[in-house]
Symmetry: none
């Protein structure tokens, strides 16, 4: 409470910026940030298990052990928390993939391996964050103009990918890179999310198909000498 220093490492720093989006008041003090974090964590859980519509702000506040009045000091309304959650998620995924993509080895990987890494990473992220897509979709249908709000957050992610693409094939226009990045991100996200609640075997198959899909598509833009997909990705079980 009275601890004077709490931010000597810059790691937590970036994470604290993430939660700032859509907030009414930027929580400067450590306790406030903890509260916001608790609120988001509880909200994520409730939205996922009960659904957005059936989750009440009072329930969120109560479970997060934050007075409802304080809740509304941080979030202007119920929808804001949904928005904060999606933005936080998008940023987390971006960080997650950025760490992967920025690794020199990965960037230099042949396309098939590259795709495999990308998709495995995304898959892992989804597994670790089961609420991601569900919350995304809820936001989609609940928040007016969500697409525009989201586009900004999404952009960072797509641009990272786009940059990697541009390095891999300098002849592509920026437009090309962005569109391809958009398609890849969205398709992977959709397919992996659909695979989540399937039985393990089918799930594994869907992940494999996702890789096949992405790779086949990307090869249009990154021609290589690898001609046999099955060889590079391994065959079906």
């Amino acid at each position: 409470m009275s601890d004077s220093a709490s931010n000597s490492n810059s790691a937590s720093n970036s994470s604290s910026e993430l939660n700032t989006a859509g907030l009414r008041r930027k929580p400067r003090q450590a306790r406030s940030q903890e509260r916001v974090d608790r609120i988001l964590a509880v909200a994520e859980a409730l939205f996922t298990t009960e659904g957005y519509g059936k989750t009440t702000t009072n329930a969120i506040a109560a479970q997060a052990q934050v007075p409802i009045g304080s809740f509304y000091q941080f979030f202007p309304d119920k929808a804001a928390i949904l928005q904060a959650l999606t933005i936080r998620y998008t940023n987390q995924l971006q960080q997650y993939l950025k760490r992967l993509l920025d690794t020199a080895d990965v960037a230099a990987l042949p396309l098939p391996e590259y795709v495999e890494q990308l998709i495995d990473a995304t898959d892992q992220f989804f597994t670790e964050n089961p609420g991601y897509y569900a919350i995304f979709m809820e936001a989609q249908s609940t928040i007016p103009d969500f697409n525009e709000i989201d586009r900004a957050a999404d952009m960072a992610l797509i641009e990272d990918l786009s940059t990697a693409f541009a390095q891999r094939n300098p002849t592509l226009t920026q437009e090309d890179c962005e569109v391809v990045g958009f398609v890849v991100i969205k398709v992977i996200g959709n397919l992996l999310w659909l695979s989540i609640d399937q039985d393990p075997i089918r799930r594994q198959r869907l992940v494999l198909e996702t890789k096949k899909l992405a790779l086949s598509y990307l090869q249009n833009y990154f021609p290589s000498n690898t001609s046999n997909l099955d060889e590079s990705l391994g065959s079906t079980t």
Copy 2:
């Protein structure tokens, strides 16, 4: 199911069955059917423009000129109407595509043209039914176990596609056909829906990319001698 000829004798039958899903009472009389139709039409409009959460059952009933009491004779609760809507939509899309796929000419088309037709048809359906995907997503996050409910409706659509695939390449297993059908349907749906509220130029580009994506992917399962995608699909404007 795989019979290529669509029988004309039980035409009205299938259409009346469509709206039966999730209904409390099968409306036998013409007036009831009209009412159900009006309810669905109004609900579709309101869900799309206002969002599911902000649409009240009373508003739906009022606009559909159906007494609220009667409303609850057809639909057990608010969610049921969402379910009925998604099922109706899925069936409509299935009918829509079935009509296309069942045409002998189309089935015999080379893969690129086939894909093009499939995607253009889906795109058109989305354009004509702007609420489709939005309602789908709402159902996803609102109705518990929606995926399982939906899977049945989806199945018919996927099976149609699957059957077409089997005819095109008899060496594929049924499992393969179904998975590929699932992937194609979902990916096309997702991408086309994302393109809907984009500006025309970007939208056109996304449709093109969708075709590229689907074709590249399908060529893994339907090898042919067409090697140049751009030739077969035409280049960007």
Copy 3:
């Protein structure tokens, strides 16, 4: 909806119209009307004793033994009940005075006696309806544009007076009559209301002064041969 005839007598009509103002739904059934009446009665009491701000809609509904949901079926919001109350009051006062003024004897009375009757009647009305003015003032400061809303209701009252004036002195313009009516009504109302919570002696004096004031003023417009006010009104105690 299907009731073909419902307005053969005009007597109860006017009384039922009174409470209709500002209502969300016109209560057609007897039970509904009773409820509205109970709500108004309870609200009047609570507004007077507790004040408008401290009176809750739930308290009103509870004391009136009307479910809060039903309450909001009749009144769109808390302010509407205030408005209904003021309009009802104005109408009641109008009815009250009209009955007096319409009496042939009264209309023919010399001005001093006429004024005396008018003020005594108003005083009695205020005594019988202690909430009148308080609620009026609350409405004044709570409802935006209340003055305009009120003006209509007020008009009837003023016009009755105005008509009586015109008969008494045909040389007056309508404009004159209305302004004088307005001044008399407002001044009497204000002064009598101020006298309500004073001790009896002072109160009686204030009523007397009110009569003196009104009479002196009116004599500007209705010259007569009565020259000594004290004679006609009696002298101070």
Copy 4:
């Protein structure tokens, strides 16, 4: 109180005393006094435009650039500010009229001119302080026993008038003077306030009627040789 010369030595004294009423702590320092003044100014504006009920203490404090914590060091609660405002207003009006009445020339004026000056001054005060009456009425219905609280403040004003009356007609008892003062003050206040939001022509007429009313009434207590009201007040435009 009735001394005709207004002392110049304790000028700032009186002004600082004005805001002291109902305050928790007498602000000794200049900054505190500024703050109280700012609070009152902002509150007056907000109460007038938004209404008392919809104005929050936090909003007042924020707009007055006074920390909410400090706010509560000056005012025990929200109602206190309303009370302070009314008392300040009453004092201001008293000062305003006192300055007028204390002028030897005015006191010696014939009754019609005297009344005219009094009413014009009051009218001007209302015009310059548009929130006066509204805030008065709000206090009336919000603060319990406001009448008693107010009576003290009012008394000074009435006593000034009462004194002037006594000088004008020494045969009147003090009781008479006070009652007449009360009636005149209240009636003028009420009528002028009602005229404020009317169109200019009607407003002018109402001011004229107010003069006629007051003069007619006062002539009962101050008989003179002026017999024609219209001559002395001028005729309508």
